[in-house]
C-alpha cells in the first residue's frame, strides 16, 4: 500500500480496521455498505484473518460477540435496518463488557426507507438503542481520512473500556472518494486475560451479563456505570473552526459537516462571523464547549439529515437563553451548503 492513495469511504473503514489489527469481520449485505463487506471478503483472507458473510445481521453481531469473547479484535458493518437488528447483541456486549466495533453506514428510515444517506439513527446510537443502561462511544467521521482514522481509534477505545464502540457514518460519506494517508499498522494488541482461550493453567473464564444471584446484579451494574462515567468524562472529541470570533455557531457532523464548512466560508464572504463546532464523538457529546459558546452570546444552527435529533443535544448544552435554529433534510436527500447558508442568513 502506498503512503497516500485515493480511497472510498467504506473502503477506508475496512482498511482502517485491518491496520488496527481487526482479526475477525462478520457482516451481511445491505446497501449502502456492500462494498465494505466485499472488500473485507477479499482482504481478510489475504491478511490471514477471519471473514464470514453471515446469514443475517443478527448472526453477525453474535459472531462479533463470540470472536471478541475469544479475545480477537472483531467488527461488523451494516446500515440502519441491520443496525436495528443488532441492538440486542450490542446490549449483550455492553452488559458482558466485550469490546467490539460496529460501523453503521446510515440510510434513510424509518422502515425500509431509502438507500440514500441520512443521520436518522443519531438517537438510536447515542441513547442506547438496545435495552438497559449502557452507553457506547460513538465516533462520527466526516471525511474519508476520518473513516480510516476513527475506525482505528474505535478499536483502541473499545479495548480501553471493554465496551462496543460505534463508527457512525452515512451513505454519502461511504461512497465519496478522497485522498487518504495510510497510517502505520498497530503492532502490539493489548493482552486480554479475561478472554475465552481454553481454561489451561488458569481458572475458567466466564463471560456473561447476568448474575446467578439477582441480588448481585445492582453492584455489577454500578461498576459498569462508573466505567461509562469515566468514558464520558475522558473521551469527548470535537473540531472547532473559526470559533474565536464567531457570532453564529454551526453544529454539524458527518458529511453534513462538509456542507457546513462550505456554508461557513460563504457566510464569512458575506461578513457574517460563523464558526463550526464539529462533534467527533457524538457520544460523549461536546456539551461543555457549546455551553461556553452560549455563555458568550452565540446563536446556533444545528444542521443534520434527520427530523431533528442532534439538535436536542445542542439544546441540552445551550439551554433556553440562546437561539438555536434547525436546518435539516430527511428521506435520503443530502443537506446542501446553500440550505445551511440560508439558515445562517436568516439568523444573522
Amino acid at each position: 500500500m502506498p503512503e497516500r492513495t485515493l480511497m472510498g469511504g467504506n473502503i477506508a473503514i475496512a482498511e482502517g480496521a485491518i491496520l488496527a489489527g481487526c482479526g475477525a469481520y462478520f457482516g451481511y449485505p445491505i446497501t449502502p455498505q456492500n462494498d465494505l463487506l466485499e472488500h473485507m471478503a477479499r482482504r481478510m483472507p489475504e491478511e490471514d484473518r477471519i471473514f464470514l458473510q453471515t446469514e443475517s445481521e443478527l448472526a453477525a453481531i453474535n459472531m462479533v460477540y463470540g470472536a471478541a469473547a475469544a479475545g480477537f479484535r472483531s467488527m461488523t458493518s451494516t446500515s440502519s435496518p441491520g443496525f436495528s437488528l443488532q441492538q440486542e447483541g450490542i446490549s449483550y456486549m455492553a452488559g458482558s463488557e466485550i469490546p467490539a466495533v460496529i460501523a453503521n453506514i446510515m440510510r434513510a428510515g424509518p422502515g425500509l426507507g431509502n438507500i440514500g444517506g441520512a443521520q436518522g439513527d443519531y438517537m438510536q446510537c447515542t441513547r442506547g438503542g438496545g435495552h438497559g443502561d449502557y452507553y457506547l462511544i460513538t465516533l462520527a467521521p466526516s471525511s474519508v481520512q476520518d473513516m480510516l482514522d476513527y475506525t482505528m481509534l474505535a478499536f483502541e477505545l473499545a479495548d480501553k473500556y471493554r465496551n462496543p464502540v460505534l463508527v457512525m457514518a452515512d451513505g454519502f460519506l461511504g461512497q465519496v472518494v478522497e485522498s487518504v494517508v495510510i497510517r502505520e499498522r498497530v503492532k502490539k494488541l493489548p493482552e486480554k486475560k479475561w478472554a475465552i482461550t481454553g481454561a489451561a493453567g488458569r481458572p475458567k473464564n466466564i463471560i456473561n451479563s447476568f448474575e446467578m444471584n439477582p441480588m448481585d446484579h445492582p453492584a455489577r451494574i454500578k461498576l459498569i456505570l462508573q466505567k461509562f462515567e469515566r468514558m464520558q468524562r475522558n473521551e469527548v472529541r470535537y473540531e472547532g473552526l473559526e470559533l474565536e470570533d464567531a457570532d453564529i455557531v454551526l453544529v454539524a457532523y458527518g458529511s453534513v459537516a462538509r456542507s457546513a464548512m462550505t456554508a461557513m466560508q460563504e457566510a464569512r464572504l458575506h461578513k457574517i462571523k460563523v464558526g463550526l463546532l464539529r462533534p467527533i464523538t457524538v457520544l460523549p457529546f461536546p456539551y461543555q464547549p457549546l455551553a461556553d459558546l452560549a455563555g458568550r452570546g452565540c446563536k446556533f444552527v444545528a444542521a443534520e439529515m434527520s427530523a431533528g435529533q442532534m439538535v436536542e443535544d445542542v439544546r441540552i448544552a445551550v439551554g433556553n437563553r440562546n437561539e438555536i435554529k434547525l436546518v435539516n433534510s430527511w428521506g435520503g436527500v443530502p443537506l446542501t451548503a446553500d440550505e445551511i447558508f440560508e439558515a445562517i442568513d436568516l439568523l444573522a
Binding site: A24, N62, M63, G66, A69, I196, A200, S209
Partner: protein, 260 residues
C-alpha cells in the same frame, strides 16, 4: 481417596461441586452429567468451551470447570461458530432447548449446520418452554397442554411440531445427527455414546455434530416426576423417533473408539 477405593461412581471431575438448580425429574441434570463424563474421558477440560443459551441451560457454564459464556436467545451456534473459527484448537459446544434452537434460533442452527461448522450442538427437546413456565414450543405435541395453549395445542392455531434432526439431516454440512432419549437407563447409556461420538466428530475436524436429547420437564408437563419418563416414551417418541439421521463414513469409523 482414602476409604473411597471402592467408589465406582461419582461426580465427574469436570463438574463443579455445587448443587444444580433443576426441578425434580428434569432431564437437564442427566444430560449435563453425561457431557461432563465425556469431557473428562476425552480430557477436554482445557479446550472445551460451554456456550450456554437462554432457557434452563442459561447457567450451564456454572456447572463445568471450562471456559464458558452466555449467548443471546437462539444465537449460540453463531457464537460457537466465531469461537471455533478464531480458535480452532478449542472445542465449543452449545446446550440449547426447544425455544432457543427450534424457535428463535432456527436460522442460526440451519446455517451453522449448512456451513458445516465444526462445533457440537446438544439440543434438549422437552416439548415445552421450561424456564418461562411451560408455554408452547415448536416441539409441543398436538393436543398437549401448554401455558399458552391451555386447551391443548391444535393444528388450526399452532400448526405441527418440528422435527429438527430430520430437517437438519437434509443438509450436506453436518457430519452426525442423532436423536436419543433419557427415559430409561439403557437409553441414557445410548445418549452418552451419542454425545461422546459427537465430540469425537468435532475432535476429528468433521462438520457439525448434533445430538437431540428427548428430555423430561415434569413441572410444566404437569406429570409427576416418577411418571414423566414413561410419559415421554409413550408420547414423545412416536412424534420424535429415536435413531441416527446422518452419520457420514468418517463418523461411522469413529464408533469403534466410543466407550460409552
Amino acid at each position: 481417596m482414602d476409604g473411597f477405593e471402592d467408589m465406582i461412581f461419582g461426580r465427574p471431575e469436570i463438574m463443579e461441586d455445587r448443587p444444580t438448580h433443576f426441578c425434580p425429574g428434569c432431564g437437564h441434570g442427566i444430560t449435563q452429567r453425561l457431557i461432563g463424563e465425556v469431557l473428562d474421558e476425552l480430557d477436554l477440560q482445557e479446550r472445551a468451551v460451554c456456550v450456554a443459551s437462554i432457557g434452563c441451560t442459561v447457567t450451564a457454564y456454572a456447572y463445568f470447570k471450562v471456559d464458558g459464556l452466555e449467548s443471546a436467545h437462539g444465537r449460540a451456534p453463531a457464537v460457537a461458530t466465531a469461537i471455533k473459527r478464531c480458535r480452532p484448537e478449542l472445542v465449543p459446544f452449545t446446550l440449547q432447548g426447544d425455544g432457543d434452537l427450534a424457535s428463535i434460533g432456527t436460522t442460526e442452527i440451519v446455517h451453522a449446520a449448512a456451513r458445516g461448522e465444526k462445533i457440537t450442538v446438544i439440543f434438549a427437546n422437552n416439548a415445552t418452554y421450561g424456564m418461562t413456565g411451560g408455554q408452547l414450543a415448536p416441539t409441543t405435541l398436538i393436543g398437549m397442554y401448554s401455558a399458552s395453549t391451555p386447551h391443548g395445542r391444535t393444528v388450526e392455531q399452532s400448526g405441527y411440531p418440528i422435527r429438527m434432526s430430520e430437517m437438519l439431516a437434509t443438509l450436506d454440512g453436518p457430519s452426525y445427527i442423532t436423536r436419543v432419549s433419557l427415559h430409561n437407563p439403557a437409553n441414557v447409556r445410548k445418549a452418552k455414546k451419542a454425545i461422546e461420538l459427537a465430540f469425537r466428530a468435532q475432535l476429528a475436524g468433521l462438520g457439525l455434530s448434533f445430538v437431540e436429547v428427548l428430555s423430561m420437564c415434569p413441572i410444566n408437563w404437569k406429570v409427576e416426576p416418577v411418571k414423566a419418563r414413561q410419559w415421554m416414551a409413550d408420547n414423545m417418541i412416536p412424534q420424535f423417533p429415536l435413531g441416527e439421521f446422518k452419520c457420514i463414513p468418517e463418523v461411522e469409523a469413529l464408533k469403534k473408539e466410543v466407550k460409552g
